[in-house]
Amino acid sequence: MFAKIQELLEKESSCERTDLPDRVKMKVQDFDLWYDDIQALKSVDMDVEENKVTAIIGPSGCGKSTLIRSLNRMNDTIPSVRTEGKVWLDGYNIYDDVTDCVDIRRKVGMVFQKPNPFPFSIENNVFYGCEVNGMDVDKDKTVERCLKQAAIWDEVKDRLDENALSLSGGQQQRLCIARALATEPEVILMDEPCSALDPIATAKIEDLIDELKKDYTVVIVTHNMQQAARVSDYTAYMYLGELIEFGKTTQIFENPKKKSTEKYITGRFG
């Protein structure tokens, strides 16, 4: 045990490095993932460009959620998961043994499919990330900044001390986005953020994504192809754990190179 503690103390930050091409924020390189014996991701390669929206589309069970959860190592919470390959963030391999998951998750925020605000007040929800990371920031200012960025400030500014569960579904989801912004992340991952919302709330979130890409890099998983076409700059199409095609959204939707992509885009399956 002491040896282990010693090892932890002496751990150097000699994380594996590489030079990424200009404007590439994250790079997934030859990445495989297994749930026990089932391979969910098969040597995925993908670049995530800075200040752009990258959409991941594909039929159910194709591994798109697994892929996006790999980008901030959320899959580590599932005991049966095993990975191989690298994911680079600003030139650092986040799957290096010395990398701290907690650090990664602060830099790469995440918004989930179902709105999942914490069962306490709105402002504490937003500030939670700063609190657990011990960030030395002014609470009121941070809360205001994040809620404004998430376009929900006007709706909740008079009731910041109310329980977040009293908000509507769409408001809750924007609150979750605001919460993710509080830790000053560089990348925001959204795992089907609109699938539990009505069309009006969805439109608000989509507008918000458009705003967010000015300051952040956004990766979004969606099963709604129109949504991908509307909000994203780049699109990745996945099928059965493989990344079939990746390119500019206009190219994927107007001139797909692969037969499978074309079939899916035109709605012939999926």
């Binding site: 959320m74 919470t77 602060r106 989930f112 069962p119 306490f120 990330g129 990371n133």
Partner: protein, 407 residues
């Protein structure tokens, strides 16, 4: 009234009569003969046939079939039971049982009468799902009443009998002349001290175990073994806990002297499974999405548990703990060898001194009833013990509601 209903009523009266007669014979252990039984069963089968033929042939209703089947069944039971030897003697097979066949005859009458009466209701109400729904409602409502009835009976009985013994002297004095005079003041304090100490010991242990099981342990063999061990601990009789407490805490740790701490430790072991299980259930009821959300914001696992998982599960943990303490407050067996004396211990002064406690006080007074005039005091002691246990549960409800409002 239609013929259908007249026949049904007739079946009901005959069957109910036979059932009552069978029950009466069972109750009195009277020796009824074969022909009495066969005659009664014949009566039932005749009316069943009448009803079955009426329904099945005349009015073409399928409901007649069960009646015909049942009539045949009763008739054959009556006929075949003549072959039951009198008495039924199992001693040749090394089983020391000897049953007179009048017992079987009475039993047949009771059962066939009851079932016949039940069947007779069918044509009365055309059993549709609405009827079944109403029936189900009343059945469950009745079970509720039967469940609540003993509770009210206990409370009512103890309050009415105990109230007379509650005096200022009884509440504030120590025991005098084997309980005939004086009161239970040291016993009240002793019980309260005991369960407070138990709570202090059991809460960290139980909640810690629950956190390990629910949050850290990998789901596998080890966790299953631990959980089974906890369950076995819960099923252990309290007298065994008492003996263990005496053998281990008193004899080995405390040099053969009963003391408050030994009793509290024993009660802690007794309540540990209750606290652990309820805490684990409370922790498991927190949705995984909240844990994911917290982890995704860069919280560590411990931060997530402390800020996200523990606070909302606190009401559940508290409820379980208090239920355990309520049980501990009323237990006699674990403390009688480890911590308490009937008299002479006085108010609790040290962890290493023995105390008096209400459950043991009650047991001792009960033993003295008949030799000494202590019955009134015993009822009053029971009332105070009941009030303490109810009070603990009431505190639990208040705490739970308070925390529920906060989150």
């Amino acid at each position: 009234m239609s013929l259908r209903k007249i026949i049904a009523l007739w079946i009901f009266i005959v069957s109910a009569g036979v059932a009552i007669y069978g029950f009466w014979n069972l109750y009195n252990q009277s020796e009824i003969g074969y022909w009495t039984m066969a005659g009664s069963l014949l009566l039932i089968s005749v009316v069943c046939y009448a009803s079955g033929i009426h329904h099945h042939i005349i009015s073409k209703r399928q409901k007649g079939l069960p009646m015909l089947v049942y009539g045949t069944f009763v008739l054959s039971a009556a006929a075949l039971s003549i072959y039951i030897p009198n008495p039924l003697d199992l001693r040749p097979w090394e089983i020391y049982v000897r049953i007179p066949n009048s017992f079987f005859f009475s039993l047949f009458m009771l059962l066939s009468g009851l079932f016949g009466a039940y069947l007779s209701f069918r044509p009365f109400y055309d059993y549709k799902k609405e009827g079944a729904q109403v029936g189900a409602y009343y059945v469950f409502y009745l079970t509720l009443l039967f469940t609540l009835f003993p509770l009210f009976l206990i409370i009512f009985n103890i309050v009415t009998r105990g109230m007379g013994g509650i005096t200022w002297e009884f509440l504030t004095q120590d025991i005098v002349s084997m309980g005939e005079e004086g009161g239970v003041f040291p016993a009240i304090l002793g019980t309260l001290a005991m369960i407070s100490l138990t709570a202090i010991i059991v809460l960290p242990l139980g909640v810690g175990t629950a956190i390990y099981l629910a949050e850290y342990a990998k789901k596998g063999l080890a966790v299953r073994v631990i959980r089974t061990a906890v369950n076995i601990l819960q099923g252990t009789p309290s007298i065994v806990h008492g003996l263990f407490g005496y053998a281990f805490f008193v004899l080995i740790l405390f040099d053969g002297k009963k003391c408050l701490l030994a009793g509290a430790l024993t009660l802690a072991i007794l309540t540990l499974p209750i606290v652990t299980r309820s805490a684990e259930e409370a922790l498991n009821s927190i949705p995984g999405e909240l844990r994911d959300a917290s982890l995704a914001l860069g919280a560590t696992k411990w931060q997530t548990i402390r800020k996200m998982v523990l606070p909302p599960s606190l009401p559940g943990i508290l409820t379980g703990t208090v239920l355990g303490l309520g049980r501990a407050a009323g237990e006699t067996a674990p403390i009688m060898f480890t911590a308490v004396y009937f008299s002479g211990a006085g108010t609790p002064s040290s962890l290493l001194k023995p105390v008096q406690a209400l459950p043991y006080h009650l047991l001792s007074l009960y033993r003295l009833v008949g030799y000494r005039d202590v019955e009134q005091q015993a009822w009053a002691t029971a009332l105070i013990l009941l009030m303490i246990v109810l009070g603990i549960n009431f505190i639990a409800i208040i705490l739970r509601e308070k925390y529920r409002q906060r989150f």
